[in-house]
Chain length 170, copies 2
DNA sequence: AACTTAACTTAACACTGTTAAGTAACGGAG
DNA sequence: CTCCGTTACTTAACAGTGTTAAGTTAAGTT
């Protein structure tokens, strides 16, 4: 907070006139990050084939997280209240989860998913988890020499392939 | 540190006689957690079928993370130096990653993986990422009402199925 | 008996987020 | 034109971090 105050050339206390506390400030930051993030999917939304759209979304997700690690951390790697958000839930242009769910629903409606998979939320959550694991592990443990990490691009490609082959019909 | 000092009934400074700083203390905690975690796989190691062994390992991984969220956080969700570890790298009884890699290698040797997958590290890392995504998202965002979360058991089962169908031959 | 080392303690420092109290500037209402 | 309340701040301080400098006490060792 003090460093923010320095940067904006106000006293630390001035911030508390605009935000209840640090968490509220971060939550609003998260909010705008999330909106910008979802907005980045508009181009991808125009890809006609839903499978290719899912592939592109996965790549975009990974790229966002890896180029904005501290934003990603704030958004997905720390518990933070999202109840005060201004994002209209369910709108794919603002809500990235809704965007993913939309693709999943389209794939499910056209019978591309395996028979046993009928729950769009469940499928979307597992897909998200896969991509999130990739990104968050890279952010938290890329410096760790314990594991001989393969290039993140290679891991991303393998993850996306695994997700598609694992969930869709052959 | 002060709270630890209270609990052990010493002054906060006393801790600094035994650990360089807070990070070093946490790192040692991580170390013993990691060893205990890997040790828990010994029972699973006796499952003869490598596919069933991988399934069981995945379930055990998720269970560990979900029953010890703060340990899991410390171990896998925050960057922390592991160079001062006392775990012998590569020993499956101490090193959980080596255990996973062992299963992958066995599956690969018996030609169970898809043709294009020949890198044990790459495969192990993607499998780990999938399970880690599941656990870490649950830990960080389970309270988040934005998403209508499906039960974690259901997500775990679907993730493990996805991993196996996504990486192995039919 | 003197010296060294290990295992502490107290007191303080620098750094967090946060708040209580005070102060200018502005914009109507009487 | 003055009074008054709101808005947007400031300074000073508080309580909480991790951490360290300096001093103390007990146990060996020579």
């Amino acid at each position: 907070m003090r460093r923010i105050a320095d940067r904006i050339e106000y006293s630390p206390t001035a911030i508390y006139f605009h935000f209840r506390d640090k968490e509220a400030l971060l939550a609003e930051l998260c909010d705008s990050d999330f909106r910008a993030f979802a907005h980045g999917f508009t181009l991808i939304a125009q890809i006609p084939d839903p499978v290719e759209r899912l592939r592109a979304a996965g790549r975009a997700y990974a790229e966002f997280g890896l180029t904005n690690p501290s934003h990603y951390r704030l958004m997905f790697m720390t518990p933070k209240a999202t109840d005060a958000t201004t994002i209209t839930k369910g709108n794919p242009e603002e809500d990235a989860y809704a965007f993913l769910k939309g693709i999943v629903a389209e794939l499910m409606a056209t019978g591309r998913f395996r028979e046993e998979l009928t729950d769009t939320d469940l499928a979307a959550q597992v897909i998200w988890s896969g991509m999130h694991g990739l990104v968050s592990l890279e952010i938290a443990k890329c410096k760790d020499e314990w594991v001989e990490w393969r290039p993140i691009e290679e891991r991303t490609a393998t993850m996306i392939d695994m997700i598609l082959r694992g969930l869709l019909k052959d």
